[in-house]
């Protein structure tokens, strides 16, 4: 096992499209690093750069201590699980699993033994003599996984491996992958566009937007201390509510007043907090309170749509002055569409972001 590191990597395609900008990133030895971001964020490109399937325009890629920037994929000793599995259709499962080893001229008995062991651990033994066309989606996914494991590589790369599975299978396989990581202790770099997948799987998560690294941190840190508005809005579902407004200092006691279109509230603010901002509040921190509540951070709202999720209710509201928001309420009392309610912004859940740069203002 080894770490994988990108140092100041740029990738620009011949047609001018910039996929990665001054990217520096490291997956530590034995860590599961998730690369997450919307389409076009460059996450798949980063993975392919690590694999050697694309060449960097500038920068260095290391595996372990080795500079592999100019090495082709064959010589990097990493394994990759493709989004469409890329199983060799004309070979049996057994031959697919053993391909990497047979290319490296491993002796037959060694190959057979390793293939058998991996097939066993993934429940593929009864399928060994079938061809990929005869397998279900979930089975193919496991074969793709097995092909990577058999090689005992320095690191694993996963390119959205779950996106072709149906919802339930996706959840089950996610758990299997987490278990696999713990068992192998392997370095894994995992690409997904699904932020909940990222949160559940990653030791650390790197959030990418348009080729630029936004933040790389543990899941909880990303959730609780997002570096900027983009990360805050991307991580967590339903997404964070943003209210535009102005922040003005009150006195010298470290408090500011936020004046938004729909409500005002007093928030603690650190140095440098002043001017146009976005106030971010997660739906979990918008409390539906009784109608008589008034005052700081309380706003009247009308319920638009309610999504009953079984363990909670997701409530989409229109605020008094026209703004929209999403709140999460407990299962009881039941909320009905059209109902007029009061919402209180809980101060402990407030994040302040500079309107210009998007960066979070700590305090």
């Amino acid at each position: 096992m080894a770490r994988i590191a990108l140092e100041h990597v740029d990738k620009t395609y011949p047609n001018g499209y910039v996929a990665a900008r001054d990217l520096s990133l490291e997956a530590a030895d034995g860590e599961l690093l998730v690369l997450v971001g919307p389409s076009g964020s460059g996450k798949s490109t980063v993975l392919r750069l690590m694999a050697g399937l694309e060449r960097v325009s500038d920068g260095v890629i290391r595996i372990g201590e080795r500079d592999v920037t100019d090495l082709p994929p064959q010589q990097r000793d990493i394994a990759m699980v493709f989004q469409n599995y890329a199983l060799y259709p004309h070979m049996t499962v057994r031959e697919n699993l053993g391909f990497g080893l047979s290319i490296r001229k491993q002796p037959r008995p060694v190959i057979d033994e390793r293939v058998k062991a991996v097939a066993g651990s993934l429940g593929l033994e009864p399928l060994l003599d079938r061809k990929p066309a005869q397998l279900s989606g979930g089975q193919r996914q496991r074969v793709a996984l097995g092909r990577a494991i058999v090689r005992e590589p320095l690191a694993f790369l996963f390119d959205e491996p779950l996106s072709n599975l149906d919802a339930q299978l996706r959840v089950e396989t996610r758990v299997e992958l987490a278990r696999l990581h713990r068992r192998l202790g392997a370095t894994m770099v995992y690409v997904t566009h699904d932020q909940s997948e990222a949160l559940t799987l990653g030791d650390r998560i790197a959030v990418l937007k348009e080729g630029v690294l936004q933040q790389v941190d543990t899941p909880m840190k990303l959730y609780e201390e997002p570096a900027n508005k983009f990360v805050a809005g991307f991580i967590g579902s339903p997404g964070m509510n943003f209210f535009e407004g102005t922040l003005t200092r009150i006195g010298s006691g470290g408090m500011c007043s936020f004046q938004g279109a729909d409500f005002t509230i007093r928030v603690p603010c650190g140095a440098g907090a002043d001017g146009r901002v976005f106030l971010g509040v997660r739906p979990q921190h918008l409390e539906i309170t009784d109608d008589n509540a008034r005052g700081d951070g309380v706003v009247r709202a009308e319920v638009g749509v309610v999504e009953p999720m079984g363990n909670e209710q997701i409530v989409y509201v229109t605020l008094a002055d026209g703004g929209r928001a999403v709140a999460v309420a407990p299962v009881q009392p039941r909320i009905v569409a059209g109902e007029k309610i009061s919402i209180r912004v809980r101060p402990e859940g407030i994040h302040v972001f500079d309107a210009g740069s998007g960066k979070r203002i700590p305090g």
């Binding site: 082709p72 994929p73 064959q74 990759m80 493709f82 890329a86 060799y88 391909f99 090689r151």
Partner: protein, 288 residues
């Protein structure tokens, strides 16, 4: 015409069949008859004595004789043109497949400047009128003493067989997913290994199809074969048939017998491989 509306209708049918379907069905049958009649007629005529051919022809064979077929393989020595066609078409096809596959791989998988001009060039060459290069090729072959030889036909056949092969194969290889070879590379295979172990096995059907198409085009070629051969020793089937001469009159009986003999294997190939052939033709043609 209900046939023109492609969507599947419900299982319920109106009683009887609409007049649109009748017209359609009749037209289709007429077309089939139109297509197959000339062959049928040729078979009938090839079994009829020459004298009876143009006197009051009837649709049923009156008086079956095998003389024409016997003469074909007897005095006419029709075996020789068949042999020549097989050798020329076969060699051209095999050579073009080997060389063309490499070029197609490069054009479909590798990235280098000049790909588009090359494809354009190849497409342009397929549009050459053969007549425009007949005379210099004739003079060239004559100076190399290759007139009336096998190489003297195989070389000129490359002018249309090679572009055809490269064009169709490039289209076919592009349809094989790229990530299979990428997976092989990550697994440790060199380019050559991923080519031989992954791509080539998957490309075999396309190779077969392209081979069939190329073979058919070579077998049917006339102008070059006519111009670059001198006598029955090296003539190919189309030339031999076209130049059948009789002592007093055109020996239609034998000509048609030869036509049937020349057509039967091709017809058989088409019947067996029709799905492949259709795929190959359309893969090459309707891209873009």
């Amino acid at each position: 015409m209900t046939a023109l509306a492609a969507p599947p209708r419900g299982k319920k049918r109106k009683a009887g069949i609409s007049w649109g379907a009748w017209i359609f069905g009749t037209a289709l049958v007429a077309l089939i008859v139109f297509t197959l009649f000339p062959f049928y007629w040729a078979i009938v005529a090839s079994l009829t004595p020459d004298a009876a051919l143009f006197k009051d022809p009837s649709l049923w064979p009156q008086h079956i004789i095998l003389d024409h077929y016997r003469a074909l393989f007897g005095e006419r020595d029709f075996i020789t043109p068949i042999k020549n066609s097989l050798i020329v078409a076969g060699t051209t096809t095999i050579f073009c497949l080997c060389v063309g596959t490499l070029a197609a791989y490069a054009l479909a998988r590798l990235d280098f400047k000049g790909k588009a001009p090359i494809m354009g060039f190849i497409l342009a060459v397929t549009m050459f009128p053969q007549i425009s290069i007949v005379s210099p090729l004739y003079l060239l072959l004559r100076s190399l003493h290759l007139i009336d030889t096998y190489p003297g036909l195989i070389m000129p056949y490359m002018t249309f067989a090679m572009p055809l092969t490269v064009w169709v194969l490039t289209g076919s290889i592009r349809q094989i997913p790229k990530d299979l070879e990428e997976a092989a590379h990550v697994d440790g295979a060199t380019r050559r290994q991923s080519f031989t172990k992954i791509l080539l096995p998957l490309a075999v059907p396309s190779l077969a199809t392209t081979g069939i198409l190329t073979f058919i085009y070579c077998w049917n070629e006339f102008l070059f074969a006519l111009s670059f051969t001198l006598g029955p020793e090296r003539q190919t089937v189309p030339v031999a048939i076209a130049l059948f001469r009789g002592m007093y009159q055109v020996p239609w009986g034998e000509i048609l017998a030869a036509a049937i003999v020349a057509t039967a294997p091709v017809a058989a190939m088409v019947l067996i491989f029709q799905r492949r052939i259709v795929q190959g033709l359309t893969a090459g043609a309707v891209k873009g």
